[in-house]
Subunit: 208 residues, 2 copies
Amino acid sequence: KDVLKANNELAYSNRKLLVKHGIFTMNIMGAIGSGKTTLIEEAINALKERYRIAVIAGDVVAQMDASRFEKLGVKTVAANTGRECHLDAKLIERSLANIDLKDIDILFIENVGNLICPVDYKLGEHVRVVIVSVSEGEDTVLKHPMIFRTSDLAIVNKVDISEAVSADPSKMRGDINQLNPSIPVLLTSKNDAISIDRWIEYIESHLE
Amino acid sequence: KDVLKANNELAYSNRKLLVKHGIFTMNIMGAIGSGKTTLIEEAINALKERYRIAVIAGDVVAQMDASRFEKLGVKTVAANTGRECHLDAKLIERSLANIDLKDIDILFIENVGNLICPVDYKLGEHVRVVIVSVSEGEDTVLKHPMIFRTSDLAIVNKVDISEAVSADPSKMRGDINQLNPSIPVLLTSKNDAISIDRWIEYIESHLE
Ligand SMILES: Nc1nc2c(ncn2[C@@H]2O[C@H](COP(=O)(O)OP(=O)(O)OP(=O)(O)O)[C@@H](O)[C@H]2O)c(=O)[nH]1
Ligand SMILES: Nc1nc2c(ncn2[C@@H]2O[C@H](COP(=O)(O)OP(=O)(O)OP(=O)(O)O)[C@@H](O)[C@H]2O)c(=O)[nH]1
Ligand SMILES: [Mg+2]
Ligand SMILES: [Mg+2]
Ligand SMILES: [Zn+2]
Ligand SMILES: [Zn+2]
C-alpha cells in the first residue's frame, strides 16, 4: 500500500530529525483506557528534574489527556486525529514543528487507544511500548499478536485488580513471550511504587 | 469519501436482505475488552430457547470469540478483519452468505474493539449498541463523542469494579446523556443478574 510506504518514509525523516537533536522518543501504545497517560505521568514525575521532557498526546479528542500533561509543567502538543484511530508520521511531523527540539531530551508520544493500526504506522520513534491491562481480558494478548511481535517493551498493567477481573498477569506475560521471546515484559500497577520504578529504570537505561 | 459511500450502499442492501427474512440485527460495539462477548453470551443463554440465534464475530483473530459462541450451540461465523480495526458491510455480506437466513430470528454482530471507526461503517443493522466499561476510565465517554451520539443503546459495564478503578458509573451515564439526551443507558455487571435482565428486556422489546 502506497499510504504505508509514504508514511514510513516520513517516519524515517522524523527519526533523523529527532536523532540530530539527541531526543529519545517513545511511542506509547495500548487499548483505550489501558493506562498510557498514567504511565507517562509517572515517568514525567520521576524524570522531569533531570531531563527535559515533551509529550505529543494523540487522540480524537486529544486535549483531555494533553491537559493532564500540561498540569505537570512539560511541553505538550495535542494531536487531534480526527476520525482516524491511529497517529501517523504526518501528524507527528506537524507536531514536532511546534516543539523547540533543542530544549528536549525525552519525547513521549501517546498513541490513540488501539492494538491494531499502530502496528503499521511508524512515527519516527526509537522505542515502541505496548500496554495491555488485565481488565481487557486474559486473551487480549493472543488476540492481537502483531503488536506484541513488533514492540520493544510490553507492560501488563493494573495488576492490582487482577482478582476482580479474574485475569492472571503471569499467563499474559507468558502469552507475550510465546509471541515474542525477546521482548522484556513488566507487570505494573499505579498503586505499586516498585513496579513503577522498574518502568522508570527501563526508560533511564536508554538515556545513558 | 467514496469508500464510505460504497460501504453504506452495501449496508443498505444487507439491511433489506435481513428485513426480508424478518431477522432483528444488533451491531455490538465497544473498546477492546469492554464486555461485548460476555453480554452477547448472556443474551444467547437467556433467549436461545425461544428464538433462533446467529452470531457474526468480527476481529483480527476472530476464532477466539467465535469459539465461545459455538460452545453455546448457536450458528457462528468468524469474520477475520485482517489488519482492519473495524467490520464493514462487505465482510457482513460475505458472512451472511454462510448463514441460512430463513432459520434465524436474531443476529448479533460483535464488532472489532474500537470506539472510533465503527461510527463510519454501517453494516445493515437495526440497532447499534455501544458498551463502555468503567475500567477504561471515567473520561472515556467524553473522549469518544461520535459513537455515543450515533448509537441506539449505551451500556456502562463492569460496574462491580467501579471502586477498584475509582470510576463513577452515574457520571458516565450523565456524560452519555449530555452527548445524546435520547439514548437509553443501562448499567450492567455480569455478576448482577437484575442488570442483565434489563439488557435482555431491551432486546425483547424489539422482538414483539
Ligand atoms: N486500578 C488501577 N487503575 C489504573 C491503573 N492505571 C490506570 N488506571 C486507571 O485506568 C483508567 C484509564 O487510565 P489512563 O491512564 O487514562 O488510560 P489511557 O490508556 O491513557 O486511556 P485513553 O487515553 O483514553 O486511551 C483511569 O481511571 C486510571 O485511573 C492501575 O495500575 N491500576
Ligand atoms: N468484573 C467484571 N468483568 C467483566 C464483566 N464483563 C466482562 N468482564 C471481563 O472482562 C474481560 C473481557 O470480556 P469480553 O466479554 O471478552 O470483552 P470483549 O469486549 O468481547 O473483548 P474483545 O472481543 O477482546 O474486544 C473478561 O475477562 C471478562 O470476564 C463484568 O461485568 N464485570
Ligand atoms: Mg490517555
Ligand atoms: Mg469479544
Ligand atoms: Zn486506525
Ligand atoms: Zn478502523
